[in-house]
């Protein structure tokens, strides 16, 4: 497991304290997000995850690292980016932790704080997806795949020729993207939401080396778990 070079057990650097703040703000917006406090480190999440074998940090370890204040280690991992959000962990967690949503919150924390992971291709795909949606209002798969491979492995694009031909033969290939009619209106909605998102950004707390464990989750309500 990769550790940040400057981390000390039980202590946080300023940048980690800020990352943690940014993450906690995201957790507040997850229904039942505060259940993260109830983690018993049983590993059911890791055992249920179909891709945990390909992760550098297991889902269980993600929560342990958060508790230990090791935010930079989490940000660098490929774990959060390989999650395909199948919700197997969330369904099975005996403590009712919304693990998939927590992973989404970690992804957003990494994107917002511009942390590079060792799976940069996922961040690239996410950015291209968003720009595709913003340009047309609908997703054009061909454009997305073309742009993605042009920036990653351009030669691989040739490998898609047989697939493109099959799609063409079966009348499933949309050659050009189409814009929705209300494109202007959608753009205004997105612009406004972006402005509101910025407003919601947290004020970084003053640096404190003691800021680990579940501190900072204190003002979140921990309600008894509803029977499911």
């Amino acid at each position: 497991m990769a550790h940040s070079t400057y981390s000390l057990p039980g202590l946080m650097t300023r940048s980690e304290a800020e990352l943690r703040q940014s993450f906690l703000k995201q957790v507040e917006l997850i229904p039942a997000g505060e259940h993260i406090k109830r983690c018993i480190q049983c590993g059911t999440c890791t055992g249920s995850c179909p891709v945990s074998y390909a992760m550098d940090i297991s889902p269980r370890q993600l929560i342990a690292l958060f508790r230990a204040g090791e935010m930079e280690t989490i940000m660098k991992s490929r774990t959060i980016w390989i999650c395909a959000s199948c919700y197997a962990c969330t369904t099975r967690c005996p403590s009712g932790i919304k693990i998939t949503d927590i992973v989404y919150a970690l992804k957003r924390t990494a994107m917002e704080n511009e942390r590079k992971s060792n799976a940069p291709q996922v961040q690239l795909l996410a950015k291209l997806f968003v720009s595709n949606l913003m340009s047309y209002g609908r997703l054009h798969e061909g454009t997305l795949i073309r742009k993605y491979y042009m920036k990653t492995r351009i030669l691989k694009l040739f490998g898609f020729i047989p697939l493109a031909r099959k799609l063409y033969r079966t009348k499933r290939l949309a050659l050009f993207p189409k814009r929705i009619k209300a494109y202007a209106s959608l753009s205004r909605i997105i612009a406004k939401a972006q402005e509101l998102e910025m407003r919601a950004a947290p004020e970084p707390l003053p640096y404190s080396p003691e800021y680990v464990g579940y501190k900072g989750l204190g003002d979140l309500k921990l309600e008894p778990r509803k029977g499911e």
Binding site: S85, C86, K166
Partner: protein, 293 residues
């Protein structure tokens, strides 16, 4: 019943077989689908990784449009279904977010109460229309056809929805009623990897190889799917899986609505059977060619 139909981006063209079969099956069962005018992409599972308020506003625009129609939304794509449902859940549970999203929607002259219901076709077919009504409309018996029912992840999870989260049964029941034989398929809710096929190809190929092998080893003639992404991964990457893992898989992959369409006696072309990559196999072809009983 009438439904506000939200096809989603992939059903527009690359997965036209799903779109065509959903429309035809619903029509055959006397339901009316009204496509949401000028809908936009729901943001899929990707937008949520980037910005939360924006992703919710983008998805809520569709729900707001459906609300003006006064109808429940029908969303066949698992990703759209889960994203639209999640939008509802967050807006109903986090009032500040609801307020922000409405403030954004107002820029487009829209507002959303959070009350539009989002439904999956499997839910409507089995829980509203019901197995008896479907049985009464059947034209062909799928006798002897062995079916691996693949639910995927996002129509049964994360919330307790219209079927069990670990062992859903509605597809099994549907096709048993059509005379088919659902095989033992313990990977019915295992993830196909979704977009990982682009970003972590090896991992996704392994997941799909396991799914195909599991269905094949249990004697399935066909895998039925409920999700465009599962469908595409299983269908379009079979050749690549055979290359990488040395397997010899030629599993036909059909949307559940296509197989139901066959049982309802709908013409092959109208339910997009001409859009398959793998030939549907002799057994299924024989059903299509069998004249109506």
């Amino acid at each position: 019943m009438r439904y506000a139909y939200y096809p989603g981006c992939s059903l527009e063209k690359t997965q036209r077989g799903y779109d065509e079969s959903v429309r035809e099956v619903f029509k055959a069962l006397g339901q009316e689908l009204v496509e949401i005018e000028d809908w936009n992409c729901c943001g899929a599972t990707v937008y949520m990784s980037v910005k939360e308020t924006v992703s919710l506003a983008v998805s809520a625009r569709n729900l707001a449009l459906a609300e003006t129609m006064g109808l429940d939304v029908l969303a066949p794509c698992s990703s759209c279904y889960t994203v639209l449902s999640k939008t509802n859940r967050i807006l109903n549970q986090i009032p500040e977010m609801h307020k922000d999203v409405n403030e954004a929607l107002a820029e487009g002259g829209l507002s959303y109460s959070g009350k539009t219901r989002v439904r999956h076709p499997l839910d409507i077919l089995m829980n509203d229309i019901g197995i008896e009504t479907i049985r009464a409309r059947l034209r062909r018996n799928l006798g002897g056809l062995k079916i691996a029912p693949y639910y995927g992840c996002q129509i049964v999870r994360p919330d307790k929805g219209f079927d069990d989260r670990e062992d859903p049964v509605l597809l099994d029941r549907m096709f048993r009623a059509c005379g088919g034989e659902p095989v033992y398929f313990p990977m019915k809710v295992r993830c196909c990897g979704g977009m990982l096929m682009t970003t972590f190809e090896e991992t996704a190929l392994k997941l799909n190889m396991e799914l195909l092998q599991c269905a094949s080893a249990n004697g399935a003639d066909v895998i039925v799917t409920t999700c465009p992404l599962c469908h595409f991964n299983l269908e379009a990457y079979q050749d690549r899986i055979n290359d990488v893992f040395g397997t010899t898989l030629t599993m036909p992959i059909l949307y559940f609505t296509q197989l139901l369409g066959i049982a309802l006696g709908l013409p092959a072309k109208s339910i997009g059977l001409d859009s398959l990559f793998n030939p549907p196999g002799d057994k299924i072809t024989s059903f299509v060619e069998t004249p109506y009983a």
